[in-house]
Structures are given as structure tokens and as C-alpha cells.
Symmetry: C2
Subunit: 442 residues, 2 copies
């Protein structure tokens, strides 16, 4: 029960992230910005939203002090990994990825009745296989594809599909700390009798069944990972490979695990499309996931699927069509463009952070990428910032400087760490770097 | 535990429906059809799929006997409510509802941060409000709109949002029999500690908290319903109004309940779009539903939302633009067209059934529709067929005649009843009527 109680705190994390604070909106190119708060109804707060209230306090304070437009006074909200960085690239691509859907399409629940996942549009399946083959980041042969409303839904489908039938107690879902802050919520919010959050995989003991989520590169800290609990007979491994794409990390070899998860949100940036896919070796698991998908939502939006297909095909096209082109044309290829952007962002971010002794960032080993033939170190979608010295709560410290991040405690780690998204729009990122630089050098 | 065991049977219902049997595909207009089976891996069947195996047996037998194209030998699968009837109308509408989505849209998770449901596209919200106002079937004023991946997801969001906090035992979810066969699955498949299926609302006793689903018109039997358990203090009412549209029933007045559910699947027929919406009076419930939606899928597909918006606006346009037009133009208005289609189908279906004493159909009272000003009796999306006399299992009886339906036991009722979809494509419906007519008059 103590575990459960502790976990209930986690339940708020995703919700909190989205209820919290400020979201910036451009009203014209880089000129006018408006911070809008979405704090919910504070008067009717219960225990569970105390954290939100505390956060709201800082945010409100930050805003009320001065709403003038000077860079230093803007609240920079990088608590969530909203991948708006990618918007500019897709605007540049013009109508190459424009999707046209006539009114009579998608009347039926069915897409392909011969497929285990009968609501999977075959054009999406084709695009997924083509892209993995091109990038070389995952084996698709001998796998069933199950599509979902983001990998968020698919990971829950996997809990359902892999938890032992007729067990008297819920199976433990574990992941090595620091782990993605939403995993505990996924496992606990419905108080399922099938599965429950079991915490840090490093601390998991006993010979009982478990599900371990291996996230690589990891959210929040960007590390490359392998399973921690080594008990093949009792364990199910879910490999969450949302960030295993060549703009974030070097592709060492095609991932060949039994259960692998991907999502367009982090691959191409289309988070609003809510589209993820699972590559599943065991047909029985794919069937059980499909069963979950049917009971949970009767499949996944076919509009998102055909749009996802078009976008993934455009990504593959951008590489295959630019082969042997000039360097400037090549730099329009999606992963080339995104790699360069991430490399630039990490360079200026590291410079800003390294100006003083207040902050530090993780160090990543270099590897040769089989896709780009470059040798480079991981440049993750999040910065896992550590506050050095006497600063015990890095999230709180940054908040005083009007930077909203997500503290280490949400990830099962020390509050000396905090997670900052590296994927916002250009001006927000520039502002972040400026702010961190000012703090570092002060 | 006995209840739980009984319910586990229900868990299969949706899955079963979709794994089962045959789906017809047109290869040219009404000429060639192919029955494709999607039976899953029978060899590895566990207890839970015994029903599927039994069904599969009948279906296979039916097919293997004769694959020739004579009408009498075709397997007619109307087990599911796949609303393919509507496809023809939308084809006739040409490009009026064609949606064009450029590649840069929907990068962000957010749609409207000022809205409780921050992932709701404002153009969908506008379309929903406009259509309800035009049809007069629901009050939208003073309600929050929460959008979901079909009303299937929203009903689960409601279980989460309305189950009592910190209760020591799960709240009972009940509905009057015959109830929609998927409700027990929704409530039980994750063995939630928050809520569980409590069965037929008529048999619910005690002064403990409960959630009652009131489906009106009802699936499967088309009846107009009110709450059965009258205990305002302990109960939460969910009004599932998926079929409260003027092609199915007369609109008596705008529904004014605290919690109302709608879906495009049954309103316009776009089942593959997976789009539903809830109208919620209590802001705290809307917030908690949004929290569920975030943890379950981080919102709902924005592609589906903008497409849904376009389609709902086209439905409203088709009525407002045709006001005062000629009768033939008016008959192109969506609800007018769909009403006429349903009226025709029910007329020929009733004639076929009433030729003998083998079958009977429910009788519905007539009412004046405030939208169309017509007086008519409900003409539901499903026929709730009863086998009279000595036939104890109506689903089984029909299966011998190669009609796949869903037996009364799935709906908490007698196997003397079975549910047949009235919404398939034209040729399938014609074939059904022909087949029933032959059986009735034999």
C-alpha cells in the first residue's frame, strides 16, 4: 500500500505536465508571444493537485512580476517534449506531404482483414517497413505490426498482452531509474489487477514474473540501455525505441528485440497525429494487443495512419531522391536536416552550460552510425541537467529563473537533476540558451 | 468471483466480433464478392476462444459447402455494426467533405490551451455545437466537450473520472439488459480496482455507489430508455446517445443530462475515423476525463478531429442550404437521406420477417420529431430479432442459414434473441432480406 500511495503521486505527472503553466504561441514570426496559463481550478484542489498548486505559484509569480517582453522575463516552458522544432522543416517541404482524404473514406472499422491487426492501413505498414529498412534501426521481418494512438497506448496494450493470465497478483512493471516519468502512471492509474508499477529495475528482486521497459536512447537522460533484470524465464522485455533514430543517436545495428515500440512524435515530430507502432515477434502477443486496442478504442484513427504513411514515405523519399546530390540538396533530407539541427542545438547548449560550475550535462560515448556513416555522440531530445554544488532542487532553481522543467524526482532520481526539452521552436530554444548562459556565467 | 468468471466470457465479445468469420469486400459493383476469413490461430486456442472456434466451425462449414455465387449460399455477416451503408451517400457528395492537411500541421500535442480538453481542435468543437443546435438533440450550453478515440474510449474515461476516490472496492458499472455487449468488457478487461461490471441494472441492489449507463435508443433493441436504478445520491448516470439522431428515432427534445456521449460512427457513419465526444456539465469530471485521455493516449488524433469537423459541418450545411429547396434537393440533406434509407430498410425487413411465425421484431411507439416534423417510430441501427416457438438459440438458427448475428446472451438476455446490423452495404442488406423472407415463408 505504501508503494501504491507513493505511486499515486506519479499519476499526476502527465496530467500535471499538461495542466501546468504556460504554453507559448506565436502570433507572428518571432515577434509577439503570449503566455497563456492553464492552471485548472485551484479553489477546488484536492491533495492530489498540491504539486500543481506549488508549480502554479511559481509560474504566476514569474508572470505577475513583469509581463514586459524583454527576453529575460519570458517564461520558458520546456517541461514537456512537445517537438515543435520540426514544424519549420515540414513547412519548407511544401505540399510534398499534403494529404487529401475524400469524404467517403474510412467508413468501415476494417482496414485489412487478413492482418492480425485488422485496423492497420496497409499503406502505413508499407511505409514503416520501408523506413526501418532504409535507416537500418530495426528488423521488421518476421514481425507483426500493431498500430496505436501513440506508443503510449501500445505500451498499455503490451501490459495487457504480456501480463500472466490467471495470476493471483499483478505483475510488476519496472524500468531502470531514471525512467520516463509517465511509466508509473501507465501502470497504476486504473489500479489494474493485471499489472502494477514495480519501480526502479535496479532494485527489483525475486524470481517472480515482471515486465521490464528498456528505453534506448533513454528518456530523460539519453543513455543507451540494455535490460537490467536478467531473468529471461520470468521477464518480458519491452524495448521503447522512440528515440532510436539517426538525428538523436548513431544507429549501431538493426534492433532485433521481440517487442519494439516506435512513434511518429519523436521520429518526424508529428505529436498531434498520435501515431505509434509496435513490432512484435510473437503472434499471440500481437493478437492480444489487438484485442486490447479493440476494447480500448476499436483500433486507431485511419486518418492519422494515412497521414503517417505519407510522412514516413516522404522521409524515405527525401533520402533516396537526394542520393548523390549536392551537399545543399542532401541537407534537405529529413534525418540529415534534423541531425544538423540537433548537433547545433547541443553545441550551443553545452557551451552555455559549461560556462560556469553551476550545471553539468551527461557525457555520451561516440559511435559510428551505420545510416549516416558519421561518428558522433548521442544528442538526445532532452537535456538531463544536473545542478552542481549546493543546489538541491534543480527544477526549483530553474523555476526561479523562469525556466519550467521536470525535476529528477518524477523520473525516480534525485532532484539535483531536471529534464529540459531540446525540441521547442527556434526562438524558445535560443531564449533558453541565453538564459542558461546568463545563469552559468553569473 | 463467480461474477468475475461470468464476465470474463464477455471480455471476448468485441474481440470475437472482430476476429470472427467473414467480411465482405466488393471488387466491382455488386458483382464479385469475396468472403475472407480472419479466424486467428485456432490450433493455439485457449478456453477463452472456444466460442470463436464454435462460430468458426459454422462459418467454415457454410463456406466449404459451396463457394458458388448464388445468393442463397453467401455468408451474410451482420454480427458487427459496421456502418458501411453510409459510404454511398458520401461518395455522392463528391468533394464537399474532402479534407486537405498540409505536412506541417499537428506537430504539437496542444490544440487550445484555454480549453479544459486542451487537445480538442476548436473547429471540431464549433461543428459539434452547431450540429446539436440544428438537430436539437442535445444541450451544449454550459457543457465542456471532451473528445476521444470513439465513444468507446470516452466511456472508459468516464469510469475513471467518476469512480469514487479512495474507495476500498470498485464501483459497480450497470446497465439494463439487454445492454450493449461491449460494456462488460470495458469495465472488466483490466481488472481495475476502481470499477467493475455489475451486470443488469434491473437487478442492482443496495445503497452503494454505482455508475449506470443509459443507452437511448438502446443497442441492441432500439428502445428509448431512462435510468433504472433510482438513487441520485449514490449513482452516476452516463447517457450513451450514440443513436439519438433523426435517421434512427424521433427527436423529442434536446437531451439535457449531466454526462452525454456521441460518436461520428453512428451519426455520419465514419467508424474508421474513431471519433467521439462527451458533453459534460461538471468541470471536475471533464478535467478528470482529460487526465485519463492524457495517460491513455495523450489526447486524440487531430487528423480525425479536423475531418470530423468538416463532415459535421457538411451535414449541417446540407440541411441549411437545402431549406425551401425542391423535394429532390432536400432529399440530399444528410438526415433526410439517411432517414429515408432507414425507413425503407425497416419496411422491407419487417415485411420479410412478418411473412411467417418464425421471427418477431420489437414494436416501437411513434413520436413527433422536432427536427423533421415527421411522426414516426424508432428505426434502429440494429434489428433485435426474436426466434419464436421452439427455436431456443436464434443466433445458431440463423447461422445454419449462413447469417452471422450476435446472440442475446452477449447482451445479458435470452438466446431466443439475436442482434443483426441494419447498416451494411446495399447488396448485403438486400441479401439478408431475401434470406429472412425465404426462411419465414418456408
Amino acid at each position: 500500500m505504501e508503494l501504491k500511495a507513493r505511486i499515486m503521486g506519479h499519476l499526476l505527472v502527465v496530467s500535471l505536465a499538461l495542466n501546468l503553466g504556460f504554453v507559448y504561441r506565436d502570433y507572428s514570426i518571432g515577434k509577439h508571444r503570449q503566455a497563456e496559463d492553464y492552471l485548472g481550478n485551484e479553489n477546488e484542489c484536492k491533495n492530489s493537485c498540491r504539486v500543481a498548486k506549488r508549480d502554479a505559484h511559481y509560474v504566476e509569480k514569474a508572470v505577475l512580476e513583469d509581463r514586459s517582453s524583454a527576453l529575460d522575463d519570458e517564461v520558458i516552458d520546456l517541461d514537456l517534449g512537445d517537438p515543435t522544432m520540426y514544424e519549420k522543416y515540414w513547412k519548407q517541404m511544401g505540399d510534398k506531404t499534403t494529404v487529401v482524404i475524400p469524404g467517403w473514406r474510412f467508413i468501415s472499422y476494417f482496414s485489412d482483414v487478413k492482418n492480425i491487426c485488422f485496423f492497420l492501413e496497409s499503406e502505413l505498414a508499407d511505409a514503416i517497413v520501408r523506413l526501418h529498412k532504409l535507416v537500418g534501426n530495426a528488423v521488421t521481418q518476421g514481425r507483426s505490426i500493431v498500430v496505436g494512438t501513440g506508443s503510449t497506448q501500445l505500451i498499455q496494450a503490451l501490459f495487457y498482452a504480456t501480463s500472466p493470465a490467471n495470476s493471483s497478483e499483478p505483475v510488476s512493471v519496472v524500468s531502470a531509474a531514471p525512467y520516463y516519468s509517465a511509466y508509473p502512471s501507465f501502470a497504476n492509474y486504473l489500479k489494474s489487477g493485471l499489472y502494477e508499477w514495480g519501480g526502479n529495475a535496479h532494485k527489483f528482486k525475486g524470481n517472480k514474473p515482471y515486465i521490464e521497459i528498456v528505453t534506448s536512447p533513454n528518456n530523460p537522460d539519453g543513455s543507451l540501455r540494455e535490460a537490467v533484470v536478467k531473468n529471461k524465464q520470468a521477464g518480458i522485455l519491452i524495448h521503447d525505441l522512440a528515440y532510436y533514430w539517426p538525428q538523436y543517436t548513431s544507429i549501431s545495428s538493426p534492433a532485433d528485440h521481440d517487442i519494439m515500440l516506435f512513434t511518429v512524435s519523436k521520429c518526424t515530430g508529428h505529436a498531434g497525429t498520435r501515431l505509434g507502432w509496435a513490432l512484435i515477434k510473437d503472434e499471440e502477443i500481437a493478437k492480444k494487443m489487438t484485442e486490447f486496442m479493440v476494447i480500448n478504442t476499436i483500433g486507431a484513427s485511419k486518418e492519422s495512419q494515412v497521414r503517417g504513411a505519407k510522412i514516413l514515405q516522404a522521409v524515405a523519399d527525401s533520402h533516396e531522391n537526394n542520393r548523390g546530390s549536392t551537399k545543399s540538396e542532401e541537407s534537405n533530407s529529413f534525418f540529415e536536416h534534423s541531425f544538423n539541427l540537433m548537433a547545433h542545438r547541443w553545441k550551443i547548449l553545452s557551451n552555455a552550460v559549461n560556462q560556469g560550475n553551476i550545471f553539468s550535462l551527461p557525457q555520451f560515448p561516440s559511435g559510428e552510425c551505420s545510416f549516416s556513416r558519421r561518428t558522433f555522440a548521442t544528442q538526445p531530445a532532452f537535456a538531463w541537467l544536473k545542478c552542481e554544488g549546493e543546489i538541491d532542487d534543480c527544477e526549483r532553481f530553474l523555476r526561479k529563473h523562469k525556466i519550467i522543467s521536470k525535476g529528477g524526482n518524477y523520473f525516480g532520481d534525485s532532484p539535483k537533476y531536471t529534464r529540459i526539452s531540446v525540441l521547442p521552436r527556434h526562438h524558445v530554444f535560443e531564449n533558453l540558451v541565453h538564459r542558461l548562459s546568463t545563469i552559468s556565467s553569473s
